[in-house]
């Protein structure tokens, strides 16, 4: 029997997620000021990290596809955008759930939240284009251009939403991340979750790429069987 490396991935993800969830609910101490709500952080931060990673992969896949015209790169970019949008949505929802008790509102126009929301819209647009593309090959090339352009806008969006709230650029942009260092147990918990989510991302990516390739084959076969194709 041929062994599928994906099966190993599934086992690893399941183990890492269980360890992470155990740590979140039973092991890590409750934060002093925010209370139990702070535990959302262990899901929220890894989701955001995976979202950014996924969109960087879209950029890499798009660039590689335009250079090599190798269909596999296009599938990677497409699949990564889908998984990235899902994790961005997860980051936004968990952020809002945390914001309600802590900030007193589901949504505030915090620069980082705004950036995440704009990213969400960019890649929803990317996927919307892909699903309405009239020709698969041309659509793939154009989608690659959108993937590159969208990612190029990220630093500019970051600066603009940071400055918009009237803060002086020098103070906010190059601010060192000098928040209180996390206690060891919290650090370990978030690291385990980040690892689990990254592995989950990789697994979903492989699965989606396979599925997209099958969809592609089906489309091609159908086109070959239809008598009058333009």
């Amino acid at each position: 029997m041929k062994k599928d490396p994906l099966a190993l991935g599934v086992i690893f993800v399941a183990a890492a997620l269980s360890a992470g969830l155990f740590a979140i609910f039973f092991w890590v101490p409750t934060e002093e000021f925010q209370g139990v709500v702070q535990r959302i952080f262990y899901v929220h931060a890894p989701s955001a990290w995976v979202a950014y990673l996924a969109f960087a992969v879209v950029l890499v896949g798009s660039l590689a596809y335009l250079r090599t015209s190798d269909k596999r790169w296009d599938l990677v970019a497409h699949a990564s955008a889908e998984v990235g949008v899902m994790f961005t949505g997860l980051a936004l929802v968990t952020g809002m759930l945390w914001g309600r008790p802590i900030w007193g509102a589901f949504w505030v126009w915090d620069p980082r939240l705004t950036l995440t929301l704009v990213l969400f819209v960019i890649y929803v647009g990317y996927l919307a284009f892909r699903s309405t593309a009239t020709d698969p090959d041309r659509g793939a090339r154009v989608a690659a251009v959108i993937g590159i352009t969208g990612f190029a806008a990220v630093p500019l969006i970051h600066f603009s939403v940071d400055w918009w709230r009237g803060q002086h650029p020098g103070r906010t942009v190059f601010r060192p991340e000098d928040g209180p260092a996390l206690p060891e147990q919290m650090l370990i918990t978030v690291a385990v979750m980040a690892l689990a989510f990254t592995a989950l991302y990789a697994m979903l990516l492989v699965m989606r790429v396979r599925l997209l390739r099958l969809e592609d084959d089906v489309d091609r076969l159908e086109a070959a069987l239809t008598p009058d194709v333009a």
């Binding site: 990317y126 919307a128 041309r138 154009v142 352009t149 190029a152 806008a153 500019l156 650029p169």
Partner: protein
């Protein structure tokens, strides 16, 4: 360079005959002006308001965002029209076959779009000032500077995504969805600079927004010129 001009002139000539982009953009943007200024509270312009000066400041603060969001909407409509006009007549195929490299094609089409957008602004910004009751006459060089910097980025993205959206079955919707988030930094910059200028009569304390716009213009003009070939390729 002469090829860029030739492409731009071709677009302008076909526009002069068909009139399907600029008039629509101007009419659409003016209707937005009426709609939005109608929503402003009465007496909120420069005219002596009921309470001393309260409303005047507020309008000068919100007018920047209002003007630039309206222009973004007009740009989406106009650039969509100008790109689909090219595809409907099969003109794009002729252009691909012509001995003009894609970067020059991009620059020429962007130049034509630039002129359409500038024309729209020339009608819309004074109309906005008039209907909102805000005097801008002494500030026009500053407004012109903001508009020129914003137009470069707007046409770079609009020309690239306009051509990209032609490969979708939901063109105008996709174009809007693609343009809004990517253009956010540019619109924020233009809105902030316009409001700053209207409130204090100068750009003091906001000049870093010009740098942001310049970087935006440069980055997306280069990306547009380099990737345009993949967008139009058959």
């Amino acid at each position: 360079m002469s090829k860029v001009l030739a492409v731009a002139l071709k677009d302008l000539r076909s526009e002069a005959r068909s009139k399907q982009v600029a008039p629509v953009m101007v009419a659409f943007s003016l209707s937005l002006v009426f709609l939005l200024t109608f929503a402003l509270p009465p007496g909120s312009g420069d005219a002596p308001p009921p309470e001393p000066q309260a409303g005047a400041v507020a309008v000068r603060e919100v007018i920047g965002p209002l003007v630039w969001t309206s222009l973004l909407l007009a740009a989406v409509i106009g650039f969509g029209r100008s790109a689909s006009a090219e595809h409907e007549g099969g003109m794009i195929e002729a252009l691909i076959l012509s001995p003009v490299d894609p970067a020059a094609l991009f620059a020429g089409k962007a130049l034509a779009n630039f002129l359409f957008l500038t024309l729209t602004e020339m009608a819309m910004i004074p109309a906005f000032a008039l209907f909102a009751g805000v005097g801008i006459t002494p500030l026009w060089p500053g407004i012109l500077a903001v508009a020129l910097a914003a137009n470069l980025g707007l046409v770079a993205i609009g020309t690239l995504f306009g051509a990209a959206a032609q490969h979708s079955s939901a063109r105008s919707l996709i174009l809007a969805l693609l343009m809004f988030p990517v253009l956010l930094p540019l619109i924020l910059a233009a809105a902030k600079l316009t409001s700053t200028l209207l409130l204090q009569g100068s750009f003091v304390g906001a000049t870093h927004w010009f740098i942001l716009m310049a970087v935006f213009d440069l980055v997306f003009t280069v990306i547009g010129a380099v990737t345009f070939e993949f967008v139009i390729q058959e």
